[in-house]
């Protein structure tokens, strides 16, 4: 079972997220020292007031200038006032699918249609207003994985005044992880350049998390007469629980950068600037032996260049295996042809996203999850984000990019020409159905023409039909026969930890493997960079480093990405791990790979990406060696693994010794605690200090603040670390620094009581 099985409940609405951006190093690398909780060069030596003023200053950006000098960003990014809360807005159930071809799309067909749905935060033990879901990167200063911490789900009725009546609530602290983060989720209209404010609006990604059956209410306790809800809960109780899988895309800040800068200048602080995007999703069934973080089934993905040319989708492509794809507004319209995404971090071929297929066991139907597969055409705000009324632009007409007439086909196990299975309406002709049914299509096939065995043993592909006006015969995405998954998408590892268990599982065409599978384990600096010299700046520095503000109107030059960046002296791995692991054929359970922090050689810790590769020689995100033994070149030419693969991101906390601070007369001193544990957050996460000002000892040691901090400040070995209530929400405070704060509070309280 999976969300591709029945029944399913589909929803759509608006995705709202409010992350803090002040320490995103892709925006302003010299504000923070990468992978640390230390301030960068630009802030060192500045007083708090000067640093805050500096962060809120507006500067010209050199690589988005059109005309030159016209574009300004704030040093602290598009949302320095963000608090990381994330929510579903105006989100309602659109349909209930009981079985293939049998569904309800109106409330008089099933009372579940039209009810509100939201994700919620962990319950607040103090009884105050509940928290909300929290979005945060494993490492906000890098390019690894984004997480969405969730405390539960809620179905409700809402009256005209906004009052909610709970129909169904399930509480469970869990996480979703970004899947398929891609810059081509929305494509610009032909001839336009708009890619949204901050140039990330083309991004889309899919999240999934589960609520286990023991956390689900009985249907009898739900305040709704709905056969769909009854069937869903009944199936979930018999299986492992519910899976909630959703896509957000075209997520765009409410304010333009210029307006944000203006608010900072006029008010003294930048206005909170949450981003809003489209939201489509499905509540379905989850089996306990399935991955929690992504949909089980047969996975089709944008194929990537490998060391084996026969694995290319388009081996004759002059660009070393990138399939050239075209899109347009519709048949007969001028097409744009690319060999990859035209946007920042150009990764090819990521134009078409992943899909997952399930051949229904009881009927000649293939259920295909194409929620993330086909890009939208045109941005809802072609003239820029709206001010003050963020949802306003959501009324803009929506359509899919036309990528031709598309079909599902199967390449027989013995090879040969693909056999068409079923035509796919991917939303180009009927966007509304794409939205209302969670991006899942149930495709009937003629079992007499295509035996189940052919489907079971072949390789599924999505391709342009041979008579398609566009992309005729081109395989857009292709089934990966051996699929590797992990639910340990992010891991926080204390420096003293050994043999941290990373779990992986392998499938063959969605089922057990029939041959041994060897996985080659590789550590990357980020999802797009091989490990290299860590002193190198991010390839996407939009500011020139070490320059005055006034000179930042110049284009990027080699000085921004210095030639020493290639790993002439590769940094040591952050993790100690085996080179490879071989999983015997037929293994169905999770395989544990022990990893340990490489503290001896890398005492400062940081983040890394851990990939499970089937191709020992392939390197994600890099141009392969020109000759055997040559060095790969950092660049954007390869396929970012975030576009296709299931990988693990790890944060290794540094091994820090603060013992000298304890030896001072009078014990711990406030200045030390502030400098080493709190100042970073005071300057870069101002949303924290509106609750408890972090820049004064008396503020954090007052009775109520101290108790609150003790409750909320956790280390990764404590379950509360993974609730939405944990502080700091970024979860970047090392155990040693957590201890420093808690010890200082204890010392202060002890002194007060003496």
């Amino acid at each position: 079972m999976s969300i591709l099985d029945f029944p399913r409940v589909n929803f759509r609405g608006i995705f709202k997220t409010n992350p803090c951006t002040a320490n995103n190093d892709d925006v302003m690398p010299s504000v923070v020292t990468r992978d640390t909780n230390d301030l960068g060069l630009d802030l060192q030596g500045k007083s708090d007031n000067s640093a805050l003023t500096y962060l809120n200053e507006s500067v010209e950006m050199h690589n988005y200038d059109d005309p030159p000098g016209a574009k300004k960003f704030m040093r602290s990014g598009w949302n320095p006032s963000g608090d990381h809360f994330t929510s579903f807005e105006n989100t309602t159930v659109q349909s209930v699918v009981y079985s293939a071809g049998c569904s309800a799309v109106a409330s008089d067909q099933d009372a579940l249609v039209g009810v509100g749905f939201e994700i919620i935060g962990s319950p607040n033990p103090s009884g105050s207003r509940s928290s909300g879901p929290i979005i945060c990167d494993l490492d906000p200063t890098g390019l690894v994985s984004t997480q969405l911490f969730v405390g539960g789900i809620h179905l409700f009725h809402q009256d005209g005044q906004g009052n909610k009546t709970t129909l169904f609530k399930a509480l469970h602290d869990t996480r979703g992880f970004q899947n398929w983060l891609n810059f081509c989720s929305t494509l610009p209209e032909t001839g336009t350049q708009y890619s949204g404010e901050q140039n990330f609006v083309g991004i889309g990604c899919v999240w999934q998390f589960v609520v286990p059956q023991d956390k689900l209410p009985a249907y009898a306790d739900c305040n709704l007469d709905s056969p769909g809800l009854e069937a869903l809960l009944s199936a979930a109780q018999q299986a492992g629980g519910l899976a909630i899988r959703f896509r957000c895309y075209e997520v765009e800040p409410g304010y333009t950068d210029d307006y944000l800068s203006k608010t900072a200048e006029e008010q003294g602080f930048p206005a909170p600037n949450p981003a809003y995007g489209y939201l489509i999703g499905t509540i379905g069934i989850w089996n306990a032996d399935e991955p929690q973080s992504e949909t089980a089934g047969r996975k089709l993905e944008a194929h990537y260049r490998t060391a084996d040319p026969s694995q290319y989708i388009a081996p004759d492509d002059p660009d070393q295996g990138r399939p050239s794809m075209s899109w347009s507004a519709g048949p007969g319209q001028t097409a744009t042809t690319v060999s990859g995404c035209i946007y920042p971090w150009m990764g090819a071929p990521a134009l078409i996203g992943n899909a997952v297929a399930l051949i229904q066991p009881d009927s000649p139907v293939i259920s295909l999850d194409i929620l993330e597969s086909f890009p939208k055409y045109g941005f809802r705000n072609p003239n820029g984000p709206v001010l003050n009324a963020p949802p306003e632009g959501f009324d803009h007409p929506k359509k899919k990019a036309y990528v031709g007439e598309v079909e599902l086909a199967v390449i027989p196990s013995g090879g040969g020409a693909p056999i068409p299975v079923a035509d796919i309406e991917y939303g180009y002709n009927d966007y509304r159905s794409y939205e209302d049914f969670g991006g899942i299509v149930d495709l009937p096939f003629d079992a007499n023409k295509i035996p189940r065995e052919t489907l079971a043993n072949g390789q599924l592909i999505l391709r342009g039909k041979t008579d398609s006006p566009l992309n005729a015969g081109i395989a857009l995405i292709k089934e990966t026969i051996i699929r590797v998954v992990t639910d340990d998408r992010t891991a926080y590892i204390a420096p003293e930890r050994t043999d941290y268990p990373l779990r992986v599982k392998v499938y063959q065409r969605g089922g057990p493997t029939t041959q041994d599978v060897t996985l080659y384990l590789k550590e990357y600096k980020t999802v797009i960079q091989l490990k290299g010299n860590d002193t190198c700046a991010s390839p996407r520095n939009v500011y020139r480093t070490n320059q005055s503000v006034d000179s930042r109107t110049e284009p990027i030059t080699v000085a921004d990405n210095p030639p020493q960046c290639p790993p002439s002296q590769p940094a040591p791995n952050r993790l100690i791990f085996p080179d490879s692991v071989t999983i015997p054929a037929g293994t169905t359970g999770w395989i544990t790979i022990p990893v340990s922090p490489n503290i001896a050689q890398d005492p400062n810790g940081g983040t890394a990406v851990f990939a499970f590769q089937q191709d020992e020689n392939y390197t994600y995100g890099t141009i392969p060696p020109a000759a055997p033994g040559g060095q790969p070149t950092l660049g954007m030419a390869g396929v970012p693994m975030w576009s296709t693969k299931n990988y693990c991101s790890v944060r290794v906390f540094g091994s820090e010794d603060f013992s000298a601070m304890y030896q001072k007369p009078g014990g711990l001193q406030w200045n030390d605690v502030y400098e080493h544990a709190l100042r970073y957050y005071y300057l870069l996460f101002p949303a924290m200090s509106v609750y408890i000002p972090l820049n004064y000892a008396s503020s954090i040691t007052s009775p109520y603040s101290a108790s609150l901090i003790k409750q909320r400040l956790n280390t990764p070995d404590q379950p509360a670390f993974y609730s939405t209530l944990n502080m700091p929400v970024t979860r970047t405070l090392s155990p040693a620094r957590v201890k420093l704060i808690l010890d200082f509070i204890d010392q202060s309280q002890s002194n007060q009581n003496a």
């Binding site: 103090s126 006029e266 101002p686 408890i692 000002p693 004064y696 009775p703 409750q711």
Partner: protein
Amino acid sequence: MRLPLCIAGSLMFTALLLGIAPANSYAKPPHKRTHTGLSYQLPTALDNQPNQQTADAFGWQIFTALNWPAQPGARGVPDKTKVIGEPGTVVWETWKAPNEVFYPDGSKPPSWETYGTPIPEQCEKSGSSTGNASPTVLSDTLVNRTSQAAGGSLTDQHGQIVHYQITFNRPVFDLIYENGYYNIAGQNAMSGPVNFAAGAGEMKAAWRILQPNEPEAVKRRFFRRKMYVYTPAMGQTPATCKYQEVALIGLHFNWKVTYPDNSTQWIMATFEQVDNVPPFKSSFEPGKNPGHLLPYSLFSKRCYKPGANCEYNQSTEQGRPVGTPTEAIRTVAIEADAKKLNPVWQKRFRQAVAGNPWQYYQMITTQYPSDPSQKPIGAPSPAYSANTTMETYVRQSSCLNCHYTARDINAKYSTDYSFMLAQACPQPLFPPSGGAQTSAVCTRQSSSQKP
């Protein structure tokens, strides 16, 4: 006398033009002077979906009603025969002070109407008594009220430490009193979060000590009082209590109201005297004279001189010596709608009473939950709010966010945006001989557990 319908309608139209919620009627006190739009009535509900303009108007209505002269002999009751700005103790001054409710030994406080509090011996020597009116002593035995909520003391341009005063109204008192939350034992028995009813209110005032040689042209612009000003021991300087004239420089109100969706929400309005600090924009422009003829209470004009090298908003917790004048500047601008509304209300005060000191006060913000469904606080608007006299050293502060963290003395339950309960069983500044209290009702639970 009943007004003709057309005139009544005209008054309503005028009120609407002035941005006043029509739900709050403007009962005309029996008084000769014109005070259109001024009322002693406290609003408790919002009839329409609040926005910044209505919230700001609401804040000014709270300000007016709570600064209205109080009826003698009663606590928290306005004198309907007077108008704001006329002599007399104002309403919030007759509310309960924390030291009237939270005793160091945790004993049960007297009822609402009864005044009385332990006072420092220095004040007793100065002639104060437990008093039959409030306040008699500016400061109390509970906490060092020379410290701001987030820490640090504020020193005015005369080298005098700014003092703070807190009071709360009867709904707050009743909940504390009736549930026994005035001591730790009562809070140990709590079984759930606190939820104040609509109409609950709290107030904080910031006072600076006036100097005898300050000109009347300066002093007349303040709401003034003569009080026993207690200053705790600082370093080698012993505690003192002096009978002095003080001037109100900051005023902050927390008020719980009913929203149109019938939920109850806190609205927090904060005000300052207009001569505190330079306007926001000029604060950052050394070399430019702001054109303010009178001296600022919390900022030296020498800082405008090029090369003055003033350290702005430096707290005593950052090493600035106590008693060294603080150079305070406004880091968060006066909220735009409040800025438009301020002259309207200042004019009303001016017209109501000649020389009315309240005309020299300005709203900085009224912060309200703009969308209560947004977790966890309801999307406070504006996002930041800072009173220069009370949150001098917090760069970006927010009343609602800060008060959201309020918990009981054991930090177990939410206390509905009120920090009052955390003051139970305070350490006395001047403990009786024998040392600190050891009362059984002042024993805490074991340390709080993680959630």
